[in-house]
């Protein structure tokens, strides 16, 4: 139980997938302009992460490993992620139109979001059990969510200031992300995972 809680908080804070591994950067920068959209995106990523992790984990341990087809994991994971994003897109469009509008074109982008594929590959590498994997994926999703919402908050403040024009919109965002990563780096001592 202690291990599960450790993995959960480590994936949010010390091993934050956006700010430690710098994965999922395209939506992290593109959709962090306002807090509402950022929060929606974070929610979508969390949802997709948990579901794809569970499905990928099941396929990996119940189909690929027994058949000795581990080398297919890369391909299979991508196909599963693509399929699940499609499903999510259809359901969100039907039942949460406001969220869908705020996603815009970025929801399909989750399909090629490296954070999600990265998560599936990490969980295999780290040899997690099923429960550990669930906590890990949930924590990673929430961590990404936290990071993008924090970034959106920073960028709202940024609108009031006048950064160098040459840095543009994306440039200053990447610099901000770097500062945030340094901030998250400070967590690294508190958890032994």
């Amino acid at each position: 139980m202690k291990m599960l809680i450790l993995i959960f908080f480590a994936s949010i804070l010390t091993n934050n997938i956006a700010l430690t591994y710098f994965l999922g950067m395209c939506p992290f920068i593109a959709i962090s302009k306002n807090t509402k959209a950022a929060s929606g995106m974070g929610m979508a990523v969390t949802y997709v992460m948990v579901i794809t992790a569970i499905v990928n984990y099941s396929i990996y341990s119940f189909v690929l490993v027994p058949m000795g087809l581990e080398y297919l994991s890369f391909l299979i994971f991508i196909i599963v992620i693509a399929g699940i994003v499609q499903v999510l897109e259809m359901l969100v469009e039907r039942f949460f139109p406001v969220l869908y509008v705020s996603f815009g074109i970025f929801l399909p982008l989750i399909t090629v979001n490296c954070a999600i594929l990265g998560l599936s590959l990490f969980m295999i590498l780290r040899d997690y059990s099923f429960l550990e994997m669930v906590f890990y994926s949930l924590g990673s999703g929430l961590g990404w969510w936290l990071a993008i919402v924090a970034m959106a908050g920073l960028r709202r403040t940024l609108m009031l200031s006048e950064p160098l024009e040459s840095l543009g919109d994306a440039g200053i965002t990447v610099i901000l992300a770097g500062f945030m990563a340094l901030g998250f780096f400070g967590f690294s001592g508190i958890l032994p995972v």
Partner: protein, 361 residues
């Protein structure tokens, strides 16, 4: 063996995902029907979840597009008056901020997710509003009148034989009537209106007098004569004869050598009109055949010229008279029951499905 396994696993997974997607699309992510009002005067019912462009296209309103619905050319923009949703990021990229604030959206991107009111540039609509004045009223049967209407504004109408116009005698109450005049005369149209007991519009129309003005929209409809060499089979029930008039005229006068047969059903001879004209036409045009049938008459009727009015429903008439069904193109207009039975008979006769056109009312 390993290769076989890996192929099986990959393909199985893909099929599984596809089945899942189809099931969700079919049974879970299902939309209701919504109404979309265009420019305040036309209302269409739209199955939700599709774009404005595709829903308007179904109603024969074509918005221009140079990019095929990708949201880059910006030609298909419409103004959303009611039911406005937040702009998508594509729209924010293409449309100026000022337009977005005013409610402009891209028709190819904005989807119908509720009742909407939109405004579309008038020139995009091939459909026009016409104003005409009634020049002549002819009583055809005890409940059917023909209204000849001279066009006032615009002065000419260009329509395809078989199309209909929508009349709006009372605001908000619209009815569709087939154009019962021939296509070559563009400065006037005729409508044949059957009086429906307690019908608001038909009662109103039947109360009109000569010189009264009438507004209508049109032409509409994909029920129109196709240009090819197949024999035209017109099946009309009662006032369903109206669109057949221009179809028959066009076939005889504009399509050289094309044959046309008219199957015309009504309950009694009192419900039938203009048959004298078609009886005399059979003598003049060898490409034209006329087969009337009366459903509520016991004995076969003989016209003074020797022409026979069979008894029975019109589909029986088709079954006994139509030959070489596979070379026919059928146009049906009349009550739904008549159309359903006649389509069945036409299929049995070998008329291809894609060459059966009908207009139910």
């Amino acid at each position: 063996m390993t290769y076989l396994f890996s192929l099986m696993v990959m393909n199985g997974l893909i099929v599984l995902i596809l089945v899942l997607l189809i099931l969700i699309k079919r049974y879970i992510a299902v939309y209701d029907d919504y109404s979309v009002t265009i420019n305040g005067d036309m209302e269409i019912t739209v199955h939700g979840g599709q774009t404005i462009v595709s829903s308007l296209t179904q109603s024969k309103i074509f918005l221009p597009s140079a990019c095929g619905g990708k949201g880059t050319c910006g030609l298909c923009q419409v103004k959303v008056v009611e039911g406005l949703t937040d702009p998508l990021s594509i729209e924010e990229a293409v449309l100026p901020y000022k337009d977005i604030i005013e409610g402009k959206r891209l028709g190819c991107q904005t989807k119908v997710r509720g009742d909407m009111k939109i405004e579309v540039p008038e020139e995009y609509l091939s459909v026009k509003e016409y104003r005409g004045s009634i020049s002549n009223i002819v009583t055809l049967t005890h409940d059917i009148n023909r209204f000849d209407i001279d066009l006032i504004e615009p002065k000419e109408i260009d329509f395809k034989s078989g199309q209909y116009v929508v009349v709006e005698p009372i605001p908000g109450e619209t009815r569709a009537y087939s154009i019962a005049s021939i296509r070559r005369r563009r400065e006037k149209i005729s409508l044949e209106v059957k009086k429906i007991p307690n019908g608001i519009c038909s009662t109103y129309l039947h109360a009109l007098k000569e010189k009264d003005e009438l507004n209508f929209y049109g032409p509409y409809g994909d029920f129109y004569l196709r240009k090819n060499d197949h024999k035209v089979v017109c099946v009309a029930g009662g006032v369903g004869l109206a669109p057949m008039k221009s179809i028959i005229d066009e076939v005889i006068n504009e399509h050289q050598g094309r044959r046309v047969e008219l199957y015309y059903g009504a309950r009694t001879i009192d419900d039938m009109y203009d048959y004298e004209k078609y009886i005399s036409m059979t003598g003049k045009h060898e490409n034209f055949k006329f087969y009337p049938a009366l459903s509520e008459v016991e004995e076969v009727l003989h016209h003074p010229t020797g022409f026979v009015f069979d008894t029975g429903f019109i589909n029986n008439e088709i079954a006994s008279k139509l030959k070489n069904g596979d070379d026919c193109e059928a146009y049906l207009c009349g009550p739904p029951v008549m159309i359903d039975f006649s389509i069945q008979t036409l299929r049995d006769k070998g008329v291809p499905e894609e060459r059966i056109f009908y207009d139910k009312f």
